[in-house]
């Protein structure tokens, strides 16, 4: 009975196995990125980037139909253009990163909507907006896995400067020139993972599997390595539970995954070991030292 509900769908149907593999790849790569987004106070930057990708994906869709490869390429180009332009403007002028990003992503969004409204239909575009993790073909799954692998490798390379730049950017500037490139590489990883996520979750929810697990992890640890591990596990569990929920009910898969993550998030806010609400309300007797 329990077996039928929790494991049965995956042994029985190939599309569920593909979906599970995809969601685990997304969790492995996206959650660490989300942790850094949160620690660098860029959570909403991820959201803005998701909007910036949309027009690129739309152009790819218009040029070659519902081909996820073309849409991915389009999304990557649009995302990179916006991320790099915004990063360069913020670094070469005094403008804050969020302000310059807002300008570029709005311009990108406006451009994309213009293109779509002139040339396209919008029925299949719903697919782009909300994704469909249950319709993964081999090629798409490979793209997702490839992107996740690249993300983890690049993150390993830029990990140290990224951490130092997050804590003490001025110090990094005095000892190394790696800060700028590391930051740009990180923005690129954000884009790659958003594009990766929208094949499964759609442009609107892709950022969810990055940011929600990071928020969850914040309530359970004060250590960066532990936070990243917790975030990955939380993302994978949300993905699995979301798929089961979606299979057993009529909830669409993408929203189901994000809703499960939201439930875990709420539980963490309430009962988290680090700054959870219950801990704050009932802190126990104060310590000796």
């Amino acid at each position: 009975m329990l077996y039928d509900a929790l494991i049965g769908p995956f042994t029985e149907f190939e599309f569920m196995r593909r979906a599970l593999a995809a969601v685990i790849a997304l969790a492995l790569a996206g959650a660490p990125i989300g942790v850094f987004l949160m620690l660098r106070r860029m959570s909403l930057v991820g959201d803005a980037m998701a909007h910036a990708i949309l027009p690129g994906a739309a152009v790819g869709f218009l040029l070659s139909g519902l081909n996820l490869f073309a849409m991915t390429a389009g999304g990557l180009i649009a995302g990179f253009a916006v991320a790099i332009l915004a990063g360069v403007v913020a670094r070469s002028t005094g403008l804050k990163e969020d302000a310059s990003l807002a300008t570029f992503y709005l311009a990108s969004l406006a451009l994309g909507v213009t293109i779509v409204s002139i040339k396209g239909t919008n029925i299949d575009l719903l697919h782009v907006l909300f994704g469909n993790i249950l319709a993964m073909d081999d090629q798409t799954l490979l793209v997702v896995a490839f992107n996740a692998t690249v993300t983890l490798l690049v993150l390993a390379v830029i990990y140290r400067p990224l951490v130092i730049e997050s804590v003490d950017p001025l110090f990094l500037r005095t000892v190394s020139r790696a800060g700028g490139p590391a930051h740009l590489a990180f923005l690129a990883l954000v884009v790659i993972n958003l594009v990766n996520g929208f094949q499964a979750l759609g442009t609107l929810l892709a950022v969810g599997l990055m940011i929600l697990p990071a928020g969850i992890a914040r309530f359970w640890s004060r250590d960066l390595t532990a936070m990243i591990c917790i975030a990955v596990v939380a993302a994978a569990v949300s993905g699995y539970a979301g798929l089961v929920l979606s299979f057993q009910t009529r909830v669409p898969s993408g929203p189901a995954i994000i809703l499960v993550a939201t439930v875990i998030y709420i539980v963490s806010v309430l009962f988290g070991r680090v700054g959870g609400v219950v801990r704050q309300l009932f802190p126990g007797r104060h310590l000796e030292a």
């Binding site: 620690l39 130092i164 005095t174 190394s176």
Partner: protein
């Protein structure tokens, strides 16, 4: 061989000078105090020395030093104290010059890090997140990182602001220890008593050099009066600088 050469340096922001026409040099191994009122350009000068601010005019030479031979402790570090990093890991970033992107932290390095933390009196705090430290403890952590940087030129921007007497004494002893090791130390300071007692050389700055030399000769009431009277002018419509008028007036 001088550790630092200033050739008619003008430093500032958006074409407006904060330090005007400074020339001179700092000998290797010197212990120099930079004093002057708020807005005199002390921080600007130090930022110029470590290379995060490019001179508007003139040049600064580090006497053959690489920029990484310079350790810089800014006045208000832009440190994100909420970032989940331990004292040990934070201090260990001072080893960047040796480890770079990938270099591992072996037993020798671990020993160095622990010794640096002990040198600033924070043994036992290694695993504490930096967010839980007091202001004085954080300043000790920053000094520990400077120790690890093992730099031949050390630049400290008002390192004893809002620091209590005990911590100041401890950290000042560390500064004198660096001096004893032959490192060049520049420190922007406000405590005249400390400058008089512990720093051999002083630069009085008031948007331009007022006086520079041995502390006993330079730290006179007259020079301090001149520095005090400095006007904090920032004129949006100022004309382009004609050259050496301010420099010669100050000297």
């Amino acid at each position: 061989m001088a550790a630092l050469h200033f050739h008619n340096v003008t430093l500032g922001y958006d074409r407006h000078p904060a330090v005007h026409h400074l020339s001179g040099e700092v000998a290797r191994g010197a212990l120099v105090a930079v004093i002057g009122p708020n807005g005199a350009g002390k921080s600007t000068l130090l930022r110029g020395i470590v290379g995060i601010l490019k001179p508007l005019d003139g040049s600064i030479h580090l006497g053959g030093l690489d920029a990484r031979d310079v350790a810089y402790l800014p006045q208000s570090a832009e440190i994100d104290r909420s970032f989940p990093i331990s004292v040990f890991d934070f201090v260990s970033t001072g080893l960047w010059r040796g480890t770079g992107l990938f270099g591992g932290i072996g037993n020798t390095a671990r020993g160095k890090i622990l010794r640096a933390i002990a040198a600033v009196g924070l043994s036992g705090f290694e695993n504490r997140p930096i967010g839980t430290l007091s202001g004085g403890q954080m300043q000790r952590v920053l000094f520990a990182r400077v120790v690890l940087q093992d730099a031949s030129l050390i630049v400290l921007d008002e390192p004893f602001n809002a620091i209590d007497a005990k911590t100041t004494t401890d950290l000042l002893a560390l500064v004198k220890h660096w001096h004893g090791e032959g490192r060049t130390v520049l420190a922007a300071l406000h405590d005249m008593e400390m400058v008089r007692n512990h720093f051999s050389e002083t630069l009085v700055l008031a948007r331009g050099p007022v006086a520079w030399g041995p502390t006993a000769e330079v730290l006179t009431p007259e020079n301090l009066m001149v520095a005090m009277r400095m006007c904090e002018a920032f004129d949006d419509t100022a004309a382009a600088c004609a050259g050496d008028d301010i420099g010669s007036r100050a000297a």
